[in-house]
């Protein structure tokens, strides 16, 4: 029996399975203004989930994550991805109340690793704080910058489906996503710098 997966995971899997090199290039190009251009590959997926209404922010997020993902993988890696499509670890779902769980999958954790790898670089923290405050208009630009930085540091994984889920909820009341990222960032930093409680 196949495990049930979330829509966000399905999207990332879909990208892995169906992207060709040309799609990658197109998605990267579209990053400058996510959602404006029509990319058949992404539209193919969106058509499956969007019914009559068109959710603008949802569309932007799917395009944005597709572009970010495309900019983080190279064409040569595509074959490898296709062969092991389940590479991304399972998301523990349902336990929304406990934000502490699974904080390692958030972008906040990834950025904290970058921050530590760069000797607690002040500019990374500043960028992170700016990212937390980004509104919908600024977010694509700041995300692009951040993913570029993350890519430049070896071995920091980005959990794309988690990222997509978070971006979709970026504007929620009480800013749960920003809270989660900030918590993940500072907790990771504290654990590393204070000798680690774990």
């Amino acid at each position: 029996m196949q495990k049930e997966i979330s829509r966000e995971q399905a999207f990332v899997q879909y990208l892995r399975k169906h992207s060709e090199s040309a799609d990658l290039a197109r998605m990267r190009r579209a990053l400058a203004d996510p959602g404006a251009e029509v990319i058949p590959l992404v539209e193919g997926f969106l058509a499956r989930i969007q019914d009559d209404y068109e959710a603008r922010w949802e569309r932007i997020c799917y395009y944005l994550v597709a572009g970010l993902w495309a900019s983080a993988v190279s064409s040569s890696e595509l074959e490898r991805f296709r062969r092991q499509p389940e590479e991304e670890p399972e998301v523990s779902q349902g336990d929304q109340s406990n934000v502490n769980k699974g904080y390692r999958r958030t972008l906040g954790h990834a950025i904290a690793q970058l921050y530590l790898a760069r000797g607690q670089s002040k500019s990374i923290e500043q960028r992170f704080v700016a990212l937390l405050d980004a509104d919908e208009e600024q977010l694509p630009y700041r995300m692009r910058q951040m993913v570029r930085l993350l890519k430049s540091e070896e071995g920091i994984p980005i959990y794309w489906s988690e990222l997509l889920r978070d971006l979709l909820a970026w504007d929620y009341e009480h800013r749960p996503v920003q809270q989660k990222w900030a918590r993940a960032f500072y907790r990771t930093v504290a654990k590393e710098t204070q000798g680690g409680e774990e």
């Binding site: 920003q178 900030a182 500072y186 504290a190």
Partner: protein, 514 residues
């Protein structure tokens, strides 16, 4: 001549079958079983009246020698003959307006020397040097005071008078227990209450000790000599009946009734600390500044008394505990009495002051858990758990302080520490944490039953979980105040580690212990 004899006139507010009535000293002592309790709106008056009754009983009954005798009295009542004989012997000394020996006053003190409105006796009312919000008593034209009320205020004032600088006689010093929280163990009726608080009073103390009214009253000349107007307590009754102030009521006649408007009021006998036995109603706790020393447990603003609850519990094998609590346990032990899941209620009353200014007064009732009758050292256990609460409170405070510092930091500039303190003060973490714990503690302490030893580990674990839960809740409230823009989020999650690391450390220690 006006007269108001406290032995025969009604002046003590007592609760009888639900109704409040005034009774005389004689009734209160001889018919104590008929009254549920003494109850004045002011907890200070209530507890001071008990001390007065206890003092009379100690002297009249010349005891009890030990808890066995107190238990005997508890069961069979007091020797009424002895009480009557004592009251007959000192009958005149209990007249509020006696020309030569007015009760608890200085006979030759006159209004010419010092004329004050009677409101100076009542800390809750506006008097000439003590302004109270919302009270509109006019000191230049005080309302007439009835003798029964005057007597109550006099007794409370002698017990709780606070230092107030110079007077026409000498320096007005603080009464022996004015700043302490006085504990009174409560029984099911006044008689039981009295027996539970009649601590051992042995022959050698009985001979040395005296009640203020047993001696010839002090005169102005005695009290004006500042060198001579000091003493140390000769025994517990001397302490219970300390003449803290020179008072003389000036009775007036008004529509056929005796009332008081003006009183002569000045310093009394200055209390000198000595090595004699400690006040049985006063608990001690370690001095926060110097743990080798002890301080009387008292009320203070911003720190609820239950946080020092352990001080109220008997300390097995030590003479340092709260004597009335030890005594009450012993009495119940001798009676082979069980509480049937209710514990021993204890009333704690007192005031908090800032020098001569009274910040608050309070009477609180707690229940000492059933387990105090067992052999287990509850004191150590409860103290440990309360210390854990304090530590958690400190971690919470540390996190709040770090949060405030982060919020106020602009670039590389460190904020001023006063600004940080002000911001920390405005956070709700302290109030949220301690007030939530107060209710939780009251429930928790009652779970300390006869099966305490078996339950101990479980009780401790539950308490720690409560601490964690309430600390987190208080922190969440504080984080809400900080806001949710990126700067605030940065500050919140950077400082939160201080609190969380305490949880982890605890768990790590626990894991090793298992």
């Amino acid at each position: 001549m006006p007269t108001f004899n406290l032995i025969t006139q009604p002046w003590i507010p007592a609760r009888q079958q639900g109704a409040l009535r005034l009774v005389s000293l004689e009734q209160a002592l001889l018919e104590a079983r008929r009254f549920e309790r003494i109850e004045d709106p002011s907890p200070l008056v209530t507890v001071a009246l008990h001390r007065l009754l206890l003092a009379i009983l100690h002297r009249a009954l010349e005891g009890p020698g030990d808890a066995y005798e107190a238990a005997e009295w508890f069961k069979n009542g007091f020797d009424q003959g002895k009480i009557r004989a004592y009251l007959v012997r000192y009958h005149d000394r209990f007249d509020l307006f006696h020309p030569e020996r007015p009760f608890y006053q200085v006979p030759d003190f006159t209004l010419e020397r010092s004329s004050r409105s009677w409101t100076v006796l009542a800390p809750e009312l506006n008097s000439d040097n003590n302004k109270v919000l919302f009270d509109h008593t006019i000191t230049s034209r005080p309302r007439p005071l009835q003798p029964d009320e005057a007597a109550r205020l006099l007794v409370a004032n002698q017990t709780f008078a606070l230092s107030a600088g110079k007077s026409v006689l000498c320096h007005t010093a603080t009464a022996p227990v004015a700043t302490a929280a006085l504990a009174l163990m409560l029984g099911e009726n006044l008689h039981q209450t009295l027996c539970l608080n009649l601590v051992a009073y042995q022959k050698h103390e009985l001979e040395r000790d005296f009640a203020t009214w047993e001696k010839e009253p002090l005169r102005v000349a005695d009290l004006a000599d500042c060198e001579r107007a000091k003493a140390s307590a000769k025994g517990i009754v001397h302490r219970y009946t300390w003449l803290s102030r020179a008072v003389r009521f000036e009775p007036e006649e008004e529509s056929g009734q005796t009332v008081v408007r003006w009183i002569a009021y000045a310093s009394g006998v200055r209390y000198e600390e000595s090595q004699v036995r400690r006040d049985p109603m006063v608990a001690v706790r370690p001095d926060p500044k110097d743990p080798t020393k002890e301080r009387p447990l008292g009320f203070s603003e911003g720190r609820a008394l239950w946080r020092d609850f352990a001080a109220l519990l008997p300390k097995p094998g030590s003479a340092q505990g709260l004597e009335v609590a030890n005594h009450a346990c012993n009495v119940y032990d001798k009676l082979h009495c069980h509480f049937e899941k209710r514990g021993i209620p204890v009333m704690v009353a007192g005031q908090a002051n800032d020098q001569a200014k009274i910040e608050l007064w309070r009477g609180e009732t707690y229940r000492l858990p059933e387990a105090i009758l067992g052999k287990a050292d509850l004191h150590v256990f409860v103290k440990k758990c309360l210390d854990q609460a304090e530590e958690m409170g400190k971690a919470l405070n540390g996190a709040a302080r770090a949060l405030a510092t982060e919020l106020l930091t602009m670039g590389d500039r460190q904020p001023h520490k006063d600004d940080v303190s002000r911001l920390v003060q405005s956070f709700p973490h302290q109030a949220a944490y301690w007030s939530a714990l107060e209710g939780q503690f009251a429930d928790w302490i009652l779970r300390l039953g006869p099966d305490f030893l078996e339950q101990q580990a479980r009780l401790e674990q539950d308490w720690q979980q409560t601490l964690k839960r309430e600390a987190l809740r208080a922190w969440e409230l504080t984080a809400l105040v900080a806001g949710n823009d990126a700067r605030a989020l940065r500050a919140i999650y950077k400082s939160e580690g201080i609190l969380l690391s305490r949880f982890y450390r605890k768990e790590a220690v626990g894991a090793k212990g298992n």
